[in-house]
Symmetry: C2
Subunit: 321 residues, 2 copies
């Protein structure tokens, strides 16, 4: 198996249909030194890159299907958080050895998600090395239309999609057990691409929840220069959190990462849209608080008392205390 | 050191000047979920990605400066081979641990080459893992103006820039000795960006020499549906090859990789341009053969006899014979 053939094989097996390349703006795809791509007229390019390493971003027993799925998902989630329309991907794959069964599964996982979002693989490289997947996702957004972290204003509603805390709970259970129910919460996050697109023109700020709710909310608040009130009993709860004590559950919800839901803020006069987006897109949306003037995030219980979270999200290279 | 801060630090220390971001089309750079970039009107996006792993693509004692330099160089070389103008880069960096001295050196190596080619770092991620650098380079080219591997025609002149075989020779010497003269041939390839741009509209095919001259020529011939006559005694020789026996020298030149020179074909009526490009850009250009109708590459000595090369280039995952 040669390097070029490997990427070509993945491309062939994941392509929607070669005839659709021209509609996708692929002027030159895999097989030359670089891809040549045409953006829709007047649109701006949106690009994000993320690497997943074995043992760091996914457990060593993760199936190749899920590794590919997750790597594409986390990158599409970044585009979703900008309100962008995904279109192309570049894939860099480091493998200890070539294994056609492994590769077939990897390709299938990539394909299912790429097709769901109209993403074409347009280039990349394969190399030997410890298992690592690096992906660049590219798409587009209208000039000035991107959602950012920096536009939240006091009074805006704070909203999160889906449920949170589930991926972190699954990851913790996997440390002790080999078979964990709802493992797809960790392995197959759903990038909220259509939701991100729907929010363009309405949401004042948006981010995806990758490091943990409080950590990612912190990014929005810092970029927006304001604070927030977070009503922790309104946090949407993954079923794997059922039966846990409140403090344990809240810890997963506030500090667990890897959920890849969208956390966004909406001016109060657009409140009615929240239910309509939810219905239209089939994704639950929960109002979990409000943006306030004073800096910092304040967690409140339903009875109005404060709740102090202990840990604020996962970061690589976190310095040991 | 936090993940976001790390990329921000690299960006800050490598940026040409923040005021130039708008000229560079950076509508939103590092610090949000994805970069938002504006291509010059009417241009097509050109994108390439390449990963360098420790012990595979660079010796373990390679300085961080050179690791960064080479990773950017090999990606810019891919854009050069398309005749594209580089503009932006995304960087994914896996590190066993954070080391500010290491990072300072890495950043300096990135900066020197990025500035030379007007490249702005617009995003990326850092993560823990075995040392690995994955880079996506993006630039642009006029619609239909890209150089490809597929346009060579019988009668076209075959030209290569710089010298070849040097990087492979240095790599081999490094297996036996710790200090090797001209190590920069391996560590700091010079992406021929300006040459690639000059070739647009004139060269009929182009590729960069990364896998080895014969292997890369093979890609051009296959894509173009023709063959070539290669006059091996006209191959430009790196000084580190001096004193070697002919067959050993030719082996490095024909099969050694990692030179990142441009190999291109030019219709004979443009022959006079070759000397003028060379003079204008300060890069040596050697006519090393001619495209022919019959498929395959034929290596000829100056006396007209055939020379049979033994090994045709480096590929990851090469199946053991």
């Amino acid at each position: 198996m040669k390097e070029f053939q490997l990427i070509e094989q993945i491309q062939r097996e994941t392509s929607i249909a070669s005839s659709s390349d021209s509609d996708q703006g692929v002027r030159l795809g895999i097989g030359d030194d670089a891809a040549v791509l045409e953006l829709p007229a007047g649109q701006h390019l949106v690009a994000a890159t993320d690497t997943l390493n074995v043992g760091i971003h996914f457990p060593i027993d993760t199936s190749p299907y899920d590794i590919a799925y997750k790597c594409l998902a986390v990158n599409l989630s970044d585009l979703a958080a900008m309100g962008a329309t995904p279109r192309w991907a570049l894939l860099s794959l480091s493998l200890p050895q070539v294994d056609s069964v492994w590769l077939k599964s990897f390709t299938a996982g990539f394909k299912i998600l790429a097709q769901a979002h109209g993403v074409t693989l347009v280039g990349g490289d394969t190399t030997s090395g410890p298992l690592s997947v690096s992906l660049t996702a590219m798409g587009f957004v209208g000039p000035g239309k991107q959602l950012t972290r920096g536009g939240a204003n006091p009074g805006d509603l704070l909203v999160v999609s889906g449920t949170i805390g589930g991926a972190a709970r699954v990851l913790e259970l996997l440390q002790k057990e080999t078979s964990v129910p709802n493992r797809q919460l960790l392995d197959r996050p759903q990038p909220r691409v259509r939701l991100g697109q729907a929010l363009v023109g309405y949401a004042s700020a948006c981010i995806d929840v990758s490091d943990g709710l409080l950590a990612d909310l912190g990014h929005v608040l810092k970029a927006s220069g304001c604070g927030a009130r977070l009503e922790i009993e309104k946090l949407p709860q993954a079923t794997v959190l059922e039966g846990l004590e409140d403090s344990q559950k809240w810890n997963y919800q506030l500090s667990g990462g890897d959920d890849y839901e969208l956390l966004f803020t909406v001016p109060r006069h657009h409140k009615a849209l929240i239910a309509s987006w939810s219905q239209q897109l089939g994704v639950s949306l929960s109002i979990i608080g409000e943006i306030e003037k004073d800096e910092g995030a304040r967690c409140l219980r339903a009875n109005g008392t404060s709740y102090h979270a202990q840990y604020a999200g996962f970061e690589h290279f976190r310095q040991k205390a």
